[in-house]
C-alpha cells in the first residue's frame, strides 16, 4: 500500500512537469494553429539558461525561486523572438510546412546549445534543502517533488484566471475559435500571437529549469520532451488546457507505475494509451473538432500527365542511371544505391501525403520494419536474399495495414501525431527487444547473395526494385484508384456520397505506401550489411519529409528530385562542423522562400507565359 502511495505521488510530480510543457504547446496551438516542434527546444533552453543562472546565485530557496522565474522569462523572450523572426511569416503556410520549419529550429537550437554550453551533461549542485526528504506513508519522499506536485495545479489555476478574468484571456479564447473574426473586430493579432507564443515558451522554459534538480541540462531532452508533450496534448485534445492537465495526470501516473511494474514496455504502454484514446475520441479527451479555416480551401494542383520535355528528361536520367556501372567506382555506386533507396522512401511517403492527403511523421517505421524483416530473414531464418527482399515489403505492408486501421480514421495534425506515436512504438520494441533485434547494437552481417555481391550488380538490382516500385506508385496515381484517393483527400464526404469507401481507400493507400517504404528498407539493409534502430528514429522520418517537401509535394516528380537533392546535400553537410545548424537553417529557408519545393518552383517557371 505504501508503495502505491509513493508511486502515485511520484506520478503526480511527473504529471506536473508534463503539464508545464504541454500547457505551453497547447496554448500556442490553440491560437496560432502551429504545432511547435521546437517546443522541446525551448524547454531545453530553459534548462540550460536556468543552469547558467542558478549556478551563479546563492543557494537558498528564495534565490532559487528568483532564478527559476528569471530563466522562464528569458525563455519567453526567446520565444517572442522566434515568433517574430520565423513563425509570423508562416502562419498561412500548410501545417506540415510549419511543423517542418519548427523542426529546422530544433536542429539549429541543438547546435547552438552545443556551441554555447558544450557536449557534457550539466547538473545542478544541490544544496541540503533541495536534497531534503519528507516522510510519506512510512517512506522518504523527496521534498522537491512535493514542490513540483504543487506547481502544476498552481500554473493551471493562474492560467485559468488569465483566460477567464482578463481581456487578454477573452481575446485569446476568441482567437482560438475564429482568429479572422477577431481581427475583423479590430484586434491586432500580431501582438496577440507574439504574446501567446512568449507565454507558451515561458511555460516550456519553466518546465525546463524545474527539471534541473532531478535531472540535468543535456542535448537530448528536446526530442524526449517534445515526444511526451505531443502525446499529452494529443491525448488531452489540442488547444484544451484542462485536457492537457487530465492527460498529463494520466500519462504521469502511467509512467510512474509502468516503470516499476512493466519497465520494459512503459514507452509502448504510453503510446498504446494514446492510440486507444484517439480511436475512441479522435480529437482527444477534451478536444473539439477543429473549425475548418473559412474561405481558405486550398486549391491543390491537378495531377496532369508529364509534358513531353519532362518525359525526355526522365528517360535521359534513367539511361544515365542504367549506364552508371560502366563509369562509376564502388564508392560512387554505393552512394547512388543509397540515393535510389531515398527516392523510393520519399516516393512512398509522397504517395500517401500528396495525393493521399495523409502527412506522416513516422514513415521511418515502415522503412525500419522492412529493413529488420530482411535482416531477420537472413539471420534467424537463414533465408536467401530474394526471400528477404520479398518479406520486407510484405512485413511492412502488413504492419502498415494493421496500424493504418487506427490511423486513417484521423486527419491532419492528429494523423501525423499518431503516425509518430506508432513509429515510436516500433522504435521502442526494436530498441528494447535485445534478444531478437540486438537492441542498440542492431543486426550485423546482412550481406547480399553471392551473385549480387558485386556493387555493380547490387546497384542494378536496387535500380530495378526501387525504380520499378516508384514507377508503379506513379502508375497507381494515374489509375482510377489514384483518382479515388484524391477524391477522398479533397472531400471525404462527397467521395462517400458518390459511392467510394473512403476509409478502405485510405487504408489501401496507407498499406501500399508502407510496403513500398519497407522494400526501400530491405534494399537498404542488404546494401549496408546491417540494420540499426536509428532507421526508425524520428530523424529518419523527417529525412523523408524534407525530401518530399524539398522536391514539392504537389508534383509527381517532386519526391524523386527532392530525394536526390536532399541526399546530395546531406552527404555534403555531414562532413562539416555544426551540420545540424546548417541543415536546420536550410529547412527554415526552404519553407520561407520555396514552399512549393524545387519541382514546384521549376513547374511554375516552365508554365510562365504558357497558357494553362
Amino acid at each position: 500500500m505504501d508503495f502505491v502511495v509513493v508511486q502515485a505521488l511520484t506520478g503526480l510530480a511527473g504529471a506536473s512537469s508534463l503539464f508545464l510543457v504541454a500547457a505551453g504547446l497547447t496554448v500556442i496551438f490553440g491560437v496560432t494553429r502551429v504545432v511547435n516542434f521546437a517546443h522541446g527546444s525551448l524547454y531545453m533552453l530553459g534548462a540550460y539558461i536556468g543552469w547558467s543562472i542558478l549556478t551563479r546565485l546563492p543557494r537558498d530557496p528564495a534565490w532559487f525561486a528568483a532564478g527559476v522565474l528569471l530563466a522562464a522569462l528569458a525563455t519567453a523572450a526567446l520565444g517572442a523572438l522566434l515568433e517574430m523572426g520565423l513563425l509570423r511569416r508562416i502562419y498561412r503556410a500548410p501545417e506540415l510546412l510549419q511543423l517542418l520549419a519548427t523542426f529546422g529550429v530544433v536542429l539549429m537550437v541543438q547546435d547552438a546549445a552545443l556551441y554555447l554550453w558544450g557536449p557534457d551533461e550539466l547538473t545542478l549542485p544541490r544544496p541540503p534543502w533541495l536534497r531534503g526528504f519528507v516522510a510519506v506513508a512510512g517512506s522518504r519522499f523527496p521534498l522537491f517533488d512535493l514542490v513540483l506536485i504543487g506547481v502544476g495545479p498552481l500554473v493551471l489555476g493562474l492560467l485559468w484566471l488569465l483566460l477567464a478574468r482578463t481581456r487578454f484571456g477573452v481575446l485569446l479564447r476568441a482567437a482560438t475559435q475564429d482568429r479572422e473574426m477577431v481581427a475583423a473586430l479590430g484586434v491586432d493579432q500580431t501582438v496577440l500571437f507574439t504574446v501567446v507564443f512568449a507565454l507558451g515558451a515561458g511555460l516550456a522554459g519553466l518546465g525546463g529549469v524545474l527539471s534541473l534538480p532531478d535531472g540535468s541540462a543535456n542535448l537530448h531532452i528536446d526530442l524526449d520532451v517534445i515526444t511526451d508533450a505531443f502525446v499529452v496534448v494529443v491525448v488531452g485534445g489540442m488547444g484544451s488546457l484542462p485536457g492537457a492537465f487530465l492527460a498529463a495526470l494520466l500519462i504521469g501516473e502511467l509512467q510512474a507505475f509502468g516503470i516499476v511494474l512493466l519497465p520494459k514496455i512503459t514507452l509502448v504502454l504510453v503510446f498504446l494509451v494514446m492510440a486507444v484514446v484517439l480511436v475512441f475520441r479522435p480529437h482527444g479527451l477534451l478536444g473539439r473538432p477543429q473549425a475548418v479555416a473559412r474561405g481558405a480551401a486550398e486549391a491543390l494542383a491537378l495531377v496532369r500527365p508529364a509534358v513531353p520535355a519532362l518525359r525526355w528528361l526522365g528517360l535521359a536520367v534513367l539511361a544515365l542511371a542504367l549506364a552508371a556501372p560502366l563509369f562509376a567506382g564502388p564508392y560512387l555506386l554505393s552512394v547512388l544505391t543509397e540515393m535510389l533507396v531515398a527516392v523510393l522512401f520519399a516516393a512512398s511517403l509522397h504517395f500517401m501525403m500528396g495525393p493521399g492527403g495523409m502527412a506522416s511523421f513516422g514513415h521511418a517505421a515502415w522503412f525500419g520494419i522492412g529493413a529488420y524483416a530482411a535482416a531477420l530473414a537472413t539471420h534467424a531464418l537463414a533465408a536467401p536474399m530474394p526471400a528477404g527482399l520479398l518479406l520486407a515489403p510484405l512485413a511492412a505492408g502488413a504492419a502498415a495495414g494493421l496500424f493504418g486501421w487506427f490511423i486513417v480514421r484521423l486527419s491532419g495534425v492528429y494523423l501525423a501525431m499518431l503516425t509518430l506515436a506508432f513509429a515510436q512504438i516500433v522504435w521502442a520494441v526494436v530498441f528494447q527487444w535485445d534478444a531478437v533485434t540486438g537492441g542498440d547494437n542492431g543486426i550485423l552481417g546482412v550481406w547480399p547473395a553471392r551473385w549480387a555481391g558485386d556493387p555493380r550488380v547490387y546497384y542494378l538490382l536496387a535500380l530495378a526494385l526501387c525504380g520499378g516500385a516508384a514507377m508503379l506508385l506513379r502508375r497507381v496515381l494515374y489509375a482510377p484508384f489514384g483518382y479515388a484517393l484524391r477524391a477522398t483527400r479533397d472531400s471525404p464526404l462527397r467521395a462517400e456520397a458518390i459511392g467510394l469507401h473512403a476509409g478502405r481507400i485510405r487504408l489501401a493507400a496507407f498499406a501500399l505506401a508502407g510496403a513500398a517504404a519497407g522494400l526501400a528498407g530491405g534494399v537498404f539493409a542488404y546494401a549496408k550489411g546491417s540494420v540499426f534502430p536509428t532507421y526508425i528514429a524520428v530523424g529518419h522520418s523527417v529525412d523523408a519529409l524534407v525530401a518530399v517537401l524539398l522536391g514539392g509535394v504537389q508534383t509527381i516528380a517532386g519526391p524523386v528530385v527532392g530525394a536526390l537533392a536532399y541526399t546530395a546535400l546531406f552527404d555534403a553537410l555531414l562532413t562539416t562542423s555544426f551540420w545540424r545548424f546548417k541543415l536546420g537553417a536550410f529547412i527554415v529557408l526552404l519553407v520561407l522562400f520555396f514552399p512549393a519545393g524545387i519541382a514546384g518552383a521549376a513547374q511554375r517557371l516552365w508554365e510562365r507565359g504558357r497558357p494553362a
Binding site: A174, M181, A183, A184, L185, G186, V187, G295
Partner: protein, 233 residues
Amino acid sequence: MLAVEELHSFYGRAHILQGVSFAVAPGAVLVLLGRNGAGKSTTMKSLIGLVRPARGRIRLAGADIAGWEPHRIARAGLGYVPEERRIFTELTVLENLEVGRQPARDGRPAWTPEALFALFPNLAELRHRPGGRMSGGEQQMLTIARTLMGNPRLLLLDEPSEGLAPVILEQMAHAILALKAQGVTVLLAEQNLHFAARVADAATVIETGRIVWAGSMAALQADEAARRAHLQV
C-alpha cells in the same frame, strides 16, 4: 462617409468583383441588392479587408483603406457583421461583446453592454449564456451588438435577415432604424426586398460583380422592369 471606386476582387483565379463603385452618405442606410453569387458578400469582405482587393480605392472618411489589414480597417471605423454570424460559441454574451470593444470615437458616447441590451432586449436575459447555446435570432442580434461595441462610423450588415423568423425580422428592422436615428451609417447587403424597403433610403443593385442599377429605394420600388431584370429569380 464611404466611397468605393472601381473595386476588383478575386477568389483564386475567379474574378468576382469587376469594378464596383458606389458611395454611402453619412447617416444613410444604403442597401446592396443582388441575387445569390452576385458579389454582395465579396464586396463586404473586400471592404473590411478579409478579401484583399486587387485594384480600386475604398475611401472611408477621407483615408484610402484598400489593402489595409482587417484590424486597422475596423479601428478606422468600419464595423463588419458577417453573414454567418461567427459568434464565439465558447464565450458568454458579455465576453463576446468584450472582444468587440474599442475606444469611443468622434466625441460620441461609447456603446456599452447596457446600451446594447436596451437595443436588443432579448440579449439582456442571456448575459452569461455561451454563444453556442443561443437561437439563430439571438445570435444575429449578438453579432450586431458585438460589432457595435467597436463604435463603428459605418456598419456593414451582411444579410442579417437570412433564416430569421418574421417576428425576429421585425425586431431587427426596428433595431436598424433605431441605429439610423442615432446617426449610424449602414451598408446593408440583402436579398430580401421587403426587408430592405423597410430600412433603406437608397439602393444599389449588383449583378455578376458589376453595379447595374443605383438610385433611391423609392425609385427601385417604382421600377418594376429593373427589379425583374436584376433581382427576380
